[in-house]
Assembly symmetry: C2
Homo-oligomer: 328 residues x 2
Amino acid sequence: MSLGEFDLIARYFDRPVRRSALGIGDDCALLTPQPGMQLAVSCDMLVEGRHFLSTVDPERLGHKALAVNLSDLAACGAEPLAFTLALALPQADEAFLAAFSRGLLTLADASGCELIGGDTTRGPLNICISVFGQVPLRATGTGALLRSGARPGDDLYVSGTLGDARLALEVFRGTVWLDGSSFDAVRKAMELPQPRISLGMGLRGLVSSAIDVSDGLLGDLAHVLQRSGVGAVVEVDSLPLSEVMRSQPLSLQRLCALSGGDDYELLFTAPAEHAAGVAAAGAAAGVAVTRIGRITERSDAGGARPRLVDAQGRPVDHLERSFDHFRT
Amino acid sequence: MSLGEFDLIARYFDRPVRRSALGIGDDCALLTPQPGMQLAVSCDMLVEGRHFLSTVDPERLGHKALAVNLSDLAACGAEPLAFTLALALPQADEAFLAAFSRGLLTLADASGCELIGGDTTRGPLNICISVFGQVPLRATGTGALLRSGARPGDDLYVSGTLGDARLALEVFRGTVWLDGSSFDAVRKAMELPQPRISLGMGLRGLVSSAIDVSDGLLGDLAHVLQRSGVGAVVEVDSLPLSEVMRSQPLSLQRLCALSGGDDYELLFTAPAEHAAGVAAAGAAAGVAVTRIGRITERSDAGGARPRLVDAQGRPVDHLERSFDHFRT
């Protein structure tokens, strides 16, 4: 190996900062949120074999590592500012670093989110990104979209389509067969998720709660219901599905859409009077927004579990648990 | 394993935030630096076998994982505010988590630095912490201590003592033998480093540059010399050493003190007229501060490498390179 740690960082990751006060190369980076804004912070760690396959294209991996973090900012309605990258690598593989950094920094540039610092070490492949955005500070509290504000009567929405990433995973697992172009489409959903940043910012002031769908619709909805102290009805026949997904058996559709995970769509609630505003925000962001149910009072029996119904309002059983890293 | 990921996080890490606007449990945490302050951000990743031994006491590991990050804030003169923790674990080991979180949160409480978010996943043991502090924003720029301000004629200082962590490592490697109480002392230096936060804040406005000694004195000094475009003379007989270290052979003393790494002391430069202020800042923080040399013009030949001299001003050879994760 010919490159030392510092050369390696410099070659692929060290670029002058434009918006931040100080970037890579000192003990700390310096960030100054605009006056009247507060800082939103999120952090995700990606591990080989758990969050991505060892065969993944490193350029797509670079994209996804940042995308899953930007998705958390989107769920708060935050405007991306900057991020740090900590990277453990089994060896300093230049081809990997060149492709990984290209995928990472292309999305960073497209999102106005600059790399301001981090750490590199030798170890089993591990990618840890912390991302920083800004949200308005309001006299009444924060302008961030939270999980805790859903109220009975609110409509329940989701962006984009659900389940394609899980369908791709099932192809990799060998439980589902797809033709080449269908596989490419769902694999792209898994490997190149698009964080809904513009939509999140556009939903400020319109929604009562929001979360991004990373662990599966039911699991993430449960977090909202728990934080908000409410229940929900989900109309499973309204779940937005891709064309590829619609050609699959109904049971697989429901498994993938309800419990798939890795969707990185926004799940949010809004009072009925904001329905037009929500539709306009979706149109402005160029992202489909679909009403998939409504918020109810919390039932004593149901806990944070939503009721699932079909188009005729009949109950639908769905027992698959949300993805939980420490149960699987 | 009986605990799911979310229960596990909640049991050991989820505590109400006191200063931050929003802590664990939403998509993002929210931080609001005080008016007139900017945010200092740093990030370190610790990997088993590289940054700590598999036999380390998990409570000490929890302490050290946060301490090395707080040391970066100290080197910027930042006041700690909050941190995020991303943790990959081979299994959800409750005994490990209980001890690790105790060590981590005890130092967090003592430093006024609260845990506001993070991520937990299964994978080879990996600890990634991002830490956030605040530094004054000045009309002339930042109030943070930087690496880039050292000027010829400045005195060169270091806090505490140097090399004990490396001496402990040599005992673990079997190249050095120490009696039990001596080993305990240097092992404590390695496993329970004390971030020099009060000293760093006390040095605001007094010093021209600062860095924390994590990779070894010579390696970290080289960063300052390079960023500042200057050279330095280091008086090796002035290096502050512990009693245990002073009883070791001279060559081992110099190896450990100059290239040891893991010291987490502050290395800084200040103009001569601030010598009394520097001494007062050390006294106020309860930390020894030792003058170990001075900043010179940069020589054409020397690059960022300092000249080493003994008490009589004679050149001293020291060829050991600083610790570099990708060369060792």
